[in-house]
Amino acid sequence: MGAPVATSPAAPPPGGAPPQPRKAAVEGSATWRLTDRIGLAICWALGLLFCAIAVAIAVYLFLQGIKYLRPSMLVTPASAGFTQGESGGFSDALFGTMIVAVMGISIALPIGIGIAVWLVEYGRPAGLARVTESTIEAIAGIPSIVLALFGTVIFSSTALGFLSRTSDGVVFGRSFFAASVMLSLVALPLVVASTREGLNSIPRHVREASYAVGKTKAATTRRILIPASRPQIATGAMLGLGRIIGDTAIIVVLLGATQNFAPVEGAAFPFNYLRGAGTTLTNFVYEASPTGNLNQPQKAYAAAFVLLLMVLALNAAVDAVHRRARKVGAWSS
């Protein structure tokens, strides 16, 4: 803009030079105003800073992890001992993380997809849909320690005694069931949000194309819309899993302050474990850190490293899902 405008199409050729390749037309910031250039520089710097922080965390934990992690830690449960050599590993915590991850996401995924389908495809009654939307946003904003407290109220009730340890009619209220249910609430908003995003990204005419060959809304949703939004649903599930395995507050409050599995006697496998208390890697890291009861920071680093690897694996999985989705292709508009 602001360049002089020639009214005649016959501008003299500049010096008879041969036409340059198009590279010359790439816009450089040299012509920009100073403020714009400063703005761009700040954006660059912030981006680099963020990368540097992420790399620093990863590298530091990686080095510490390599230094302190021993394969035996992954298979030995924690035990009481006076030195770090005697106190075992964190296999119970590792399995605990896997259990809450699987249980939490298998509750959150179907419910989240269901809610998202209802909101996007039906959305009626409109008032109820709006209320649901803001409820889910509210859940996303609630600190997980508050969810945990609320969970103790629910799962200590007599009616839900079958989900945790009971003795003489007193419901303990802390179990893998209790923790997984509340952790699924942490993952739910992410699943709902990304499923909605996926459904919304499908053009309206694709739905209509399905209706226009006589398919019902239910058939369209099941066979076209949900499969088409699979990449986004997977992303939501991965993000949700990341939140679940990263949560500490709910684990501390609702899974019991143990460092080992505490199965309920007399219950059938696997319910004896699922009804009992336990721990996860986050809880182990918290307890093993210098502020915790175990105070064995080297093992805290080792466990944190394992946790980091799990999260990185989830990120890689999200990437893989999206790469696969690109192979399937997308609509032009």
């Binding site: 501008a11 499969p227 032009s332």
Partner: protein, 319 residues
């Protein structure tokens, strides 16, 4: 916009008033481009060449006289409104098998709305209300179950929209009962092949029916959508500007296909492209601001329109 370019092409050939007084185009304002020699900037040739007089003499009719024509649908005094805005105003039209019916008109004239009301797709818009009657083989379509009606009257859309699955599954989806996957691949194979064949796509895709449909070219995707619409064994095929997103070669292929299909199904095509309507339609309905201005055979409507507005539209005076 596509429409404008079409009409301006038309104007060069249609406007008899300008044919003997060549007018210089207005001066073109240009930004001086660095490193681009002036010779490479297209300069408008003064006068633009002698426009050919006469109407659509340049355009080629690729459709012959119909062998037969059977009345299948009857649009009887239909009005459609969205909230308070009336998009279609009491239109009456016949739809016949053995013929191609084309609806033309400028944007927002209600032609797509009318098309969508033929298989009750307008009902998906909650604000839309329809008055009047639409008959399919003398049965009011409101008496027919919508999913059943939409298998008898299928539709192809402006944007190619194959489902995100393989070429085979796109067709098989239509053949299967609602959401089920019950019928085996083997039993569906002949029907899938014949649908692809009728849409002229089978030869191109027969070797990899498992190819993801969204990776086909735009023209192939649109023919897949036509195959999908044909797989339901419809009696009426609705096409909503099926070529507007395609290149000229794909358009040609699809036009040839439409001409071939008219004996099996009644074809209704909405188009922005007047030449296209002239090339492939037996009857043309010209709509303007929701009203049906003129309904006539293509040669009559383009050659000697009865209405002043039709004359003006086909000669490019507005639109």
């Amino acid at each position: 916009m596509e429409l404008i370019s079409d009409v301006s092409e038309l104007r060069g050939g249609m406007d008899p008033g300008n044919s003997d007084t060549p007018r210089l185009p207005p001066p073109v304002r240009r930004l001086p481009l660095e490193d681009v020699p002036a010779a490479r900037q297209a300069s408008p040739s003064a006068g633009g060449g002698a426009p050919a007089p006469g109407g659509f003499t340049g355009a080629r009719r690729s459709i012959g006289a119909p062998q037969f024509s059977i009345r299948r649908m009857e649009i009887d005094d239909v009005s459609v409104s969205y909230s308070n805005r009336e998009a279609v105003k009491s239109v009456s039209l016949p739809v016949r098998q053995g013929e191609v019916l084309s609806m033309i008109g400028p944007s927002g004239c209600g032609k797509t709305t009318l098309l969508r009301s033929l298989n009750r797709l307008t009902e998906l818009t909650s604000t839309a209300t329809l008055r009047g009657r639409i008959l399919l083989d003398d049965v009011d379509i409101t008496q027919i179950e919508p999913t059943l009606l939409r298998r008898r009257v299928t539709m192809v859309f402006q944007q190619p929209n194959p489902f995100p699955m393989s070429v085979f599954d796109n067709i098989a989806y239509v053949l299967r009962e609602q959401g089920s996957r019950r019928q085996r691949k083997k039993t569906l194979e002949p029907k899938v092949h014949s649908a692809l064949d009728r849409a002229g796509l089978f030869e191109e895709v027969k070797d990899n029916l498992d190819h993801p449909a969204l990776k086909l070219s735009g023209g192939q995707q649109q023919r897949l959508c036509i195959a999908r619409a044909l797989a339901a064994e419809p009696e009426v095929l609705l096409l909503d500007e099926p070529c507007s997103a395609l290149d000229p070669q794909s358009t040609q292929v699809i036009e040839d296909l439409i001409v071939k299909l008219r004996d099996d199904v009644a074809v209704v095509i909405v188009t922005h492209n007047l030449q296209q309507a002239y090339r492939i339609a037996d009857h043309v309905a010209f709509m303007y601001l929701g009203e049906l201005v003129e309904y006539n055979s293509a040669t009559a409507l383009f050659g000697s329109p009865r209405e002043q507005r039709t004359q003006e539209y086909v000669s490019g005076a507005f639109g």
